[in-house]
């Protein structure tokens, strides 16, 4: 019923007069975090977007050169704070690979369950924030109702709600809480009942659909050439799920689908994330009943030393492919660490896909790119 957005293909001949340069951010309700966008407008049409980064640059990579191999893991929780367990897993896996540490089965399964719970929590917050950007204030509260259950589980088992320091090289820091299984099962049951609410309230809403369909179209070639990953690339038809390409922990023995859409617009990115939540629930269901007994951490020395060399590990966070690259000189601290953040590559595509559309479309596009700025700035 509503008109598709009109994308003006060639914005160069809109004339220099009538150009308005506005700054969105760094303090702005819609740029999630401190993102400074310098938007050049002609009327309502966007001619150019320049993201200015660095407002929350904390020199994390430099800081890690002073931290030991046991300490640097938890700095990654502060980067992409919505996928903290997954980021920690990446660092732990790298150290385990580099030092050949044996991880017991129990730890692998619990780490997988925690990763998937974190992914669901991240997507819940994303759904709430994106709906709020578009003007629907209510899904935010419904999404947080589910997210509260997850953070309760995290609080019991890991001791913290947001930056959970729980995963160590070799397994887990301590054993899971006795209530872990019951609470996760209760959460799975509630989530399956309530996910239809999101379908009704947000997905099926014609206003929402007309604001996201055909908006911010990213072709598969562009996704690959800009280096996008995660739901952004999967919505354009690029198959890039790290859990399938290079499985780690318990991912090689669970069954789940890689959600791929081909439309490449904001609605496809939205659908990919909602379906990913369902797939995560599927993974959790397969694992929660059969957590193997045994040790929760492998045998490691107290002070870890990586051999001289270069190591790389990549995982699939809620935003895309997160990579950790360490250059080690054989000491107890890394010589150089580089984090490949998914948000940085996803943000680089914003100018390309939002050019020629309107400000309202910019909100929809930015919302579906799911940017967490501390992850981009490190």
């Amino acid at each position: 019923m509503y008109n598709q957005t009109e994308i003006i293909k060639d914005t160069t001949d809109l004339g220099p007069d009538g150009e308005l340069v506005i700054n969105m951010g760094p303090q702005h309700p819609a740029t999630h975090g401190v993102l400074h966008l310098v938007v050049t407008l002609n009327g309502e049409t966007i001619k150019k977007i320049e993201p200015h980064l660095g407002y929350i640059h904390r020199s994390i990579e430099k800081m890690c050169e002073r931290l030991s191999y046991r300490q640097f893991i938890y700095v990654t929780s502060r980067m992409d704070y919505l996928s903290s367990h997954i980021n920690n897993t990446a660092c732990a896996l790298l150290i385990e690979k580099g030092m050949q540490i044996e991880v017991p089965e129990r730890a692998k399964v619990v780490r997988t369950i925690l990763n998937e719970l974190t992914r669901i929590a991240s997507h819940e917050l994303w759904i709430g924030a994106m709906a709020m950007d578009l003007g629907a204030f209510t899904p935010f509260f419904y999404a947080f109702r589910e997210r509260e259950m997850i953070t309760d589980i995290m609080e019991d088992t890991c001791g913290a709600r947001l930056t959970m320091n729980y995963i160590v090289p070799g397994g887990l820091m301590y054993d899971i809480h006795p209530n872990f299984q019951t609470k996760v099962k209760a959460f799975v049951k509630q989530f399956k009942e309530k996910v239809t609410e999101y379908e009704d309230l947000v997905t099926g809403n014609i206003i929402f659909q007309s604001r996201t369909k055909g908006v911010g179209v990213l072709t598969a070639e562009d996704a690959i050439s800009y280096g996008c990953s995660g739901p952004v690339a999967r919505a354009s038809g690029v198959s890039c799920d790290m859990r399938k390409i290079a499985p780690y922990d318990a991912y090689d023995r669970v069954e789940f689908d890689e959600v791929i859409e081909t439309a490449g617009d904001s609605f496809a990115r939205y659908i990919v994330r909602v379906k990913e939540m369902n797939q995560s629930i599927r993974i959790i269901e397969q694992l929660i009943d059969n957590i193997p007994e045994g040790e929760f951490v492998g045998k490691t020395k107290n002070v870890l030393k990586l051999n001289k060399g270069e190591f790389y590990q990549r995982v699939e966070t809620a935003r895309g492919e997160f990579g950790v690259f360490i250059v080690s000189e054989g000491g107890t601290t890394p010589y150089r660490i580089k984090f490949r953040s998914p948000g940085f590559s996803n943000l680089s595509v914003l100018d390309h896909i939002a050019k020629g559309s309107k400000i309202g479309d910019l909100m929809a596009t930015m919302g579906t790119l799911d940017l967490v700025i501390p992850d981009i700035d490190r």
Partner: protein, 358 residues
């Protein structure tokens, strides 16, 4: 019983008996003005609290419940805070227009109170062109909004004001046509005639199909006219901070805020008057016992009940739907609502001539 017309009648008789006609009229004017201002203040208080409570319940939370029992003094506390805030006028703003804008918007809201019939024989001004007066005066609010956006000397405010102006002017057409439907069926522009014609049933039931279509169009159009979600582009926080009233603070902001809620009350009151029977109680056919019981409920309670029901529906919209983009908004009006309302007008004229309504 609680019939308000006895109060007005006794007051009028007493005044005209005691004083000369001119002085009695002046005193009546003063009383009416005081009552209007009180109504404004009370309505503002009630509506803002109602909005916050309704929003909270839809969002599975409680809403204000600390200030006063159940939070009823919350708005009073907020108003006190706004009065005490520093009213900051930007240096480069056009001072005269900047200060004048909120008053124009408030004034339009007050002028629209005049023809509304709150209860039986309880109307301030039963002008013979009642409906036309309402349509004409409600268009004046655009001037206040554009003034506010321009005088703020702020890119965002200007963008917001332009969008808002375009929106209001477009949706007035649909609202006007919806209202014309009832005028065609009644044959008069006078409010008291329209209410009196609904004695044997509300127009929503008597006029079946065209009136139902007109009612739906009216609700959509007035949601857009009062800049409410899902049409609240002008105040879209996440896109343009606060739109045309970004630069306003303190009492002037409170006036804009208040004027928006009073506008909602007025358009819902007009909708209740035209489509839902105003102060007429609900009578069903020949169920005499039922009708007699319905007659016991005072007419002011009927009117307020219907108005607040419509207000609740409009508030419900705000917290359920996402926002429309500005081009979708204007598309909706010019390509869908306007043709439907024109066709509807034709339909209702045919029905009125053939006498196919109840």
């Amino acid at each position: 019983m609680l019939s308000l017309e006895s109060i007005t009648k006794t007051t009028q008789d007493w005044l005209f008996a005691k004083f000369s006609p001119e002085i009695a009229l002046t005193i009546e004017c003063v009383i009416v003005i005081l009552l209007c201002i009180t109504l404004f203040a009370v309505l503002g208080l009630v509506l803002v609290l109602l909005e916050r409570k309704v929003a909270a319940r839809i969002q599975i939370r409680l809403g204000p419940n600390r200030v006063g029992p159940g939070g009823i003094f919350q708005t009073a506390a907020d108003t006190l805070k706004l009065i005490m805030k520093e009213g900051l006028t930007p240096d480069t703003a056009d001072k005269f227009l900047f200060n004048l804008a909120p008053f124009i918007v408030m004034m339009v809201a007050m002028l629209l109170l005049a023809p509304i019939a709150f209860a039986k024989n309880f109307q301030i001004w039963d002008i013979n062109i009642g409906v036309l007066y309402i349509s004409a005066v409600s268009s004046l609010s655009v001037i206040g909004i554009l003034m506010a956006g321009w005088a703020s000397n702020n890119k965002y405010s200007l963008l917001g004001a332009m969008r808002s102006g375009a929106q209001i002017v477009s949706y007035e057409l649909s609202a006007g046509f919806a209202v014309l439907t009832i005028v065609v069926l009644t044959g008069s522009l006078r409010i008291s005639d329209i209410v009196a014609s609904q004695e044997n049933g509300w127009w929503l039931f008597k006029g079946h199909i065209p009136v139902i279509i007109a009612f739906v169009l009216y609700i959509i159009a007035v949601t857009a006219e009062t800049n409410r979600a899902p049409f609240d582009l002008a105040e879209a926080e996440s896109e343009l901070t606060a739109g045309f009233h970004t630069e306003y603070s303190g009492m002037k902001f409170a006036l804009f805020f208040l004027a928006e809620y009073i506008n909602i009350f007025i358009v819902c009151a007009i909708g209740a008057t035209l489509f839902l029977g105003g102060w007429m109680p609900l009578h069903i056919g020949h169920w005499d016992g039922f009708n007699h019981i319905m007659d016991y409920i005072p007419s002011s309670v009927w009117f307020m009940g219907k108005t607040f029901f419509l207000i609740f529906v409009i508030m419900w919209f705000r917290w359920t739907f996402p926002r429309l983009r500005v081009d979708q908004l204007l598309n909706l009006e010019w390509k869908y609502l306007l043709p439907i309302s024109l066709f509807n007008l034709l339909l209702v004229t045919v029905i009125a001539i053939m006498g196919w309504h109840f």
